[in-house]
């Protein structure tokens, strides 16, 4: 009998701990209003300074390969052309040199300094990889033999989990200046919009606007 009472007492004491043993997590981390707003701007930043810049980088790599037949730190097998020089109207290349946008297609329509890049495939933003389709027009401006300023016009869509997805587009064109800092195009001018939907119902419209630096921007949502 004593033994049974002992086991019951142990069980009862553990149950008594129940009320005291709830653990809480940091509420800021799990989604405060300000954190949520910041996260929204990070998402659009990832499109503007990640996705678009990745395409500029891929195009510059392709142009370098087109001119010199090789690219530092790249494989020659990463470039497949339809036999036309990348500066020639009608040129169509597939580039796998930039891993994040492997298989992006570059095409040239007119005898100018403009190319169109398209891709329909997975793209990772902050480690979350989802189907992303886009069409980007890039117009080359001044630069050296390797890196240039670019004027970019973009439209695209992205499909994520739980019914969420978004459309994004540039308001006119966005200018990226390669600047003196090298290869990161941290100077930008222009606006990128995003419309977010859930189960095909629009839940938000937001924009990010650059007026010089990609680290100094204006972000608004709930529009």
């Amino acid at each position: 009998m004593k033994r049974i009472l002992l086991v019951i007492a142990i069980a009862a004491s553990l149950c008594a701990c129940k009320k005291e043993s709830y653990k809480s997590y940091d509420s800021e981390f799990t989604g405060s209003y300000s954190y949520n707003t910041t996260a929204g701007s990070h998402y659009l930043q990832s499109i503007a300074t990640g996705l678009l810049v990745d395409n500029m980088r891929a195009l510059e790599n392709a142009l370098e390969f087109n001119s010199f037949g090789s690219v530092s730190n790249s494989r020659t097998s990463a470039y497949h052309s339809n036999g036309k020089d990348l500066w020639t109207p009608g040129a169509e290349w597939t580039v796998t040199a930039v891993t994040s946008i492997k298989g992006v297609k570059i095409s040239k329509e007119a005898a100018d300094s403009t190319w169109t890049m398209t891709r329909d495939g997975d793209y990772g933003i902050g480690g979350n990889v989802y189907p992303t389709t886009y069409n980007i027009t890039l117009r080359m401006h001044k630069g050296d033999n390797y890196h240039f300023d670019w004027e970019v016009t973009a439209t695209g869509t992205r499909t994520e989990t739980k019914g969420y997805g978004c459309k994004f587009w540039s308001d006119g064109s966005v200018k990226y200046l390669v600047g003196e800092s090298g290869y990161n195009w941290s100077t930008a001018f222009g606006t990128i919009w995003m419309e977010v939907s859930c189960d095909e119902e629009i839940v938000d419209k937001a924009f990010i606007r650059y007026n010089g630096s990609t680290s100094d921007f204006r972000y608004m949502r709930g529009l």
């Binding site: 086991v7 701990c17 129940k18 209003y33 949520n36 480690g127 739980k162 977010v196």
Partner: protein, 197 residues
């Protein structure tokens, strides 16, 4: 994957049960246990993960005031061979949070999930000394989950399994255990107090 694991566990338990011999019977143990965070807290992907690069996290209901109970369990064991015992474990845990609107920051509801599971299992003891032994074990069964997710009810049964790769037991009739406890109900360390009848 879970179904395969359960089948594998059963494939071990059932043949061992057929070896049970009356000569080794006569020892029953009861214990109460408390383990660390429930599986949902450690690995759940519905409420408790948050990412600034995922639209569902940014625009979906925002979760705050997350809280959880450690996993409490009661276990009865029956030693059927010198080193083996069969057990039945009943466990309970709860996770919960509040929902807030991502735009207005207003409270919109509550997430509350209770998990109650029943898992038969088998334990193997080794390096047995007077007041000390090591053990390993597996248990598998089912878990009833109920509660609410905003305005929607949660009700379902899922497979439940736990594995103890290694555990320490100290004591004789009255004993304490410390286990490394991993599975889809709890993950971490489990502490237990029990009595051998």
């Amino acid at each position: 994957m879970k179904n395969r694991l359960i089948l594998a566990i059963l494939a071990v338990i059932v043949p061992l049960m057929s070896y049970a011999q009356p000569g080794w019977m006569g020892k029953v143990e009861l214990s109460a246990n408390i383990s660390g965070a429930p599986y949902d807290i450690e690995f759940g992907d519905y409420v408790f993960s948050y990412s600034s690069s995922d639209l569902a996290s940014i625009y979906g209901p925002q979760t705050r005031n997350l809280e959880y109970l450690p996993v409490f369990s009661l276990m009865a064991e029956y030693k059927f061979r010198k080193n083996f015992s069969l057990g039945l474990e009943a466990a309970y845990t709860h996770v919960g949070s509040d929902y807030y609107d991502p735009f207005t920051d207003e409270y919109t509801g509550v997430y509350s999930k209770h998990t109650l599971c029943l898992m038969p299992g088998i334990k193997y003891r080794y390096l047995i000394r007077n007041y000390f032994s090591l053990h390993s074990g597996v248990s598998a069964g089912a878990a009833l989950q109920f509660g609410k997710d905003g305005s929607e009810a949660i009700l379902g049964v899922i497979p439940a399994y736990q594995v103890v790769p290694i555990g320490i037991r100290v004591g004789r009739d009255l004993y304490a255990t410390l286990d490394y406890y991993m599975g889809n109900i709890a993950f971490g360390v489990r502490f237990g107090l029990g009595y051998r009848f």
